[in-house]
């Protein structure tokens, strides 16, 4: 198969059209330069940046990561260069390489989120903004914005008001909440054009040698194939409630069939995260495998498969039909 992605995998996240549905997950692709050593980033549907914050942040002390069964537990503390350096050094490089870029933003207050969106307002080359609401709200005893529909909505409202009107905004939600559908509805009501599901979920590991928590942050975010069933469930539930809202599915995607699972659950695009730590070229490989998987199932266009798992068994959408009609042979 050629390197060029086939038309079969073209997709759209609302108004944002993409040549293929495979993105990198925020926080897993570095600045882009590191992955570019292993493949051409323009082959991705889009590159999602590490969450950028208003100021430079060193993050948490090491150890920041520990390996768990089929997963990673990380407590990074949102390290990053800050918006200033990001706009001077990292974003221009991505734009120069013609990489479709979705900028992830994170703040510790509603105001900070708004400020970040305002800074991006006049920056060309921002395909979309992803709002990382899994941040502690310092104005609310450090509780996560993403835990409460009202707090998440106030962030999205501030970002929507400050961002350039045409820029699509995605809210990235964490799964360890009582009702993710309620939070998704609140975010969409507040102006989110789409949703990224899911962020990591809180977990903990204790080192049997030191007899203390394995991470300096005590608890950390669990990612990788270990959380894939949780992510698929979230995408399925939210798509059922909001069928016209585009979803970026994230959570333990390592193969093309994993990606297909998210698409069938209702995602229009998928992001590869932890798999990049294990295999830097996972993005193009997942895309190739997904393309083959669609072809093998005689799905001519990816959008036809979005949310197909919601349909009753035996239902075949009009567009999903054999490529070579067998009747002609008769």
């Amino acid at each position: 198969m050629s390197d060029r992605a086939s038309d079969r995998v073209r997709t759209a996240l609302g108004a944002l059209e993409l040549p293929n549905p495979v993105l990198t997950a925020s926080g897993c692709g570095g600045t882009g330069r590191e992955l570019a050593q292993f493949f051409d980033l323009t082959r991705l549907g889009a590159f999602v940046t590490t969450s950028v914050m208003p100021q430079a942040r060193a993050g948490r002390p090491t150890p920041r990561v520990t390996e768990t069964p089929s997963g990673l537990l990380t407590a990074m503390g949102l390290p990053g260069p800050g918006i200033e350096t990001f706009l001077e050094r990292d974003l221009p490089w991505l734009i120069e390489q013609d990489v479709r870029t979705i900028v992830s933003i994170a703040g510790n207050s509603v105001e900070e989120f708004g400020d970040l969106a305002r800074r991006l307002r006049h920056v060309p080359g921002v395909a979309a903004i992803e709002v990382n609401v899994a941040c502690p709200n310092v104005e609310d005893r450090g509780r996560m914005f993403g835990w409460h529909p009202s707090a998440a909505a106030s962030v999205l409202r501030a970002v929507r008001a400050a961002a350039r009107p045409g820029t699509p905004i995605f809210a990235k939600l964490a799964p360890d909440v009582t009702d993710i559908v309620g939070i998704a509805l609140a975010c969409v009501d507040a102006g989110a054009d789409g949703l990224t599901l899911i962020n990591t979920m809180d977990g903990m590991a204790i080192d049997p040698h030191t007899l203390r928590p394995a991470l300096t942050g005590v608890s950390g975010g669990l990612s990788g194939p270990a959380i894939r069933p949780v992510a698929v469930r979230c995408v399925y539930q939210v798509h059922a409630a909001l069928p016209s809202t585009p979803i970026i599915g994230v959570g333990g995607i390592a193969t093309g069939l994993d990606a297909l699972e998210f698409i069938l659950a209702g995602a229009s695009a998928v992001a590869v995260g932890t798999a990049l730590f294990h295999d830097p070229a996972a993005g193009p490989r997942v895309l190739r495998e997904l393309d083959e998987a669609l072809a093998a199932r005689r799905i001519g266009r990816l959008p036809d498969a979005v949310g197909l798992a919601h349909k009753p068994a035996g239902y075949v959408p009009p567009q999903v039909r054999p490529q070579e009609p067998e009747k002609e042979k008769l």
């Binding site: 570095g30 430079a56 060193a58 993050g59 090491t62 390996e67 990673l72 390290p79 990049l276 730590f277």
Partner: protein, 295 residues
């Protein structure tokens, strides 16, 4: 560009037990031809459908030109992932990334070089020694370990080095003592102009201190720290961070993998390893309990 790393499926040629460690030779021509001493490889463990997602990073002990190009790594079987690696046999395939990281900077002139090493990662100084010898440099080894079984390559050091000093804590091989005990004497005896080191961070810290006392430049590979804290080896996961003092006097948290593993010893804030120093760029301005502040 020949200095960009590659991802390759490497064939295991041999796995040998050497003292307490395992030495594995892999056929990886694309990595061997790009390799410069001090660089490392990142190995995926557990096979195709592995549940272990963290890549294991190992400094390269030596590269050879047979079979189109081989790389040899030395590692200790300390956890299930390295245990799995130790169980590989000839003709098994491994997914390898490399060569990664910044190499040792080499002296322009044929000077006298002191190479200090400890632990399995210390094996990486032998690739450096080969290059230095070819450039006409004098090479003096100091190998340290808790006991004879944890000193890698003492005979090889005696063969290729102008001098070789071995020191063990229990005196089971060479002198009895630690790196800091013998290093000042060896520096004086050999008239070393530059000090290179690879091994556990405690050893690197001691080497840096002694080099500083004699006014010598030190280049150290923090490969062991990287092995302990890193996850990807290529600079995207941001977990192998350590505080480094910059030219401008500002301390930054840098990645042991992509900004190292070879660093100037005098620039690493050894005492602050595993912390975010309060004066580091981006350090939390208000220390709360949850941010790692006073409990």
């Amino acid at each position: 560009m020949s200095d960009t790393p590659v991802q390759t499926s490497a064939t295991v040629l041999t796995v040998r037990q050497v003292q307490d460690y395992h030495a594995m030779t892999l056929v990886a021509p694309a990595i061997a031809e790009r390799f410069r001493p001090g660089q490392f490889v990142a190995v995926a463990v557990g096979g195709e459908h592995t549940a272990r997602l963290v890549r294991r990073c190992f400094g390269v002990h030596q590269v050879q030109s047979d079979y189109g190009g081989t790389v040899e790594v030395v590692f200790a079987d300390t956890e299930p992932g390295t245990g799995w690696l130790a169980g590989r046999r000839a003709r098994d395939q491994l997914d390898l990334l490399g060569p990664l990281g910044r190499p040792f900077r080499l002296p322009r002139d044929p000077v006298s070089c002191l190479l200090a090493a400890g632990g399995p990662g210390g094996a990486a100084v032998f690739a450096l020694a080969d290059t230095l010898v070819r450039r006409g440099c004098q090479v003096h080894f100091v190998l340290a370990g808790p006991s004879a079984k944890q000193v890698f390559g003492s005979r090889m050091a005696q063969r290729i080095g102008d001098t070789a000093t071995v020191v063990t804590e229990d005196g089971s091989l060479g002198e009895k003592g630690t790196m800091s005990d013998v290093l000042p004497r060896v520096v004086q005896e050999t008239g070393a102009d530059v000090v290179y080191a690879c091994g556990p961070t405690g050893l690197l810290r001691a080497v840096t201190r002694v080099a500083g006392e004699f006014g010598l430049p030190s280049q150290v590979s923090v490969e062991e720290f990287l092995q302990r804290t890193g996850a990807c080896g290529i600079g995207v996961c941001m977990t192998c961070m350590l505080p480094l003092h910059g030219d401008d006097g500002v301390t930054r948290m840098v990645r042991a993998c992509a900004d190292g593993p070879v660093l100037r010893g005098d620039r690493v804030r050894w005492g602050d390893l595993g912390t975010i120093p309060f004066d580091a760029l981006g350090a939390p301005r208000v220390l709360s309990v949850t941010e790692g502040g006073p409990k």
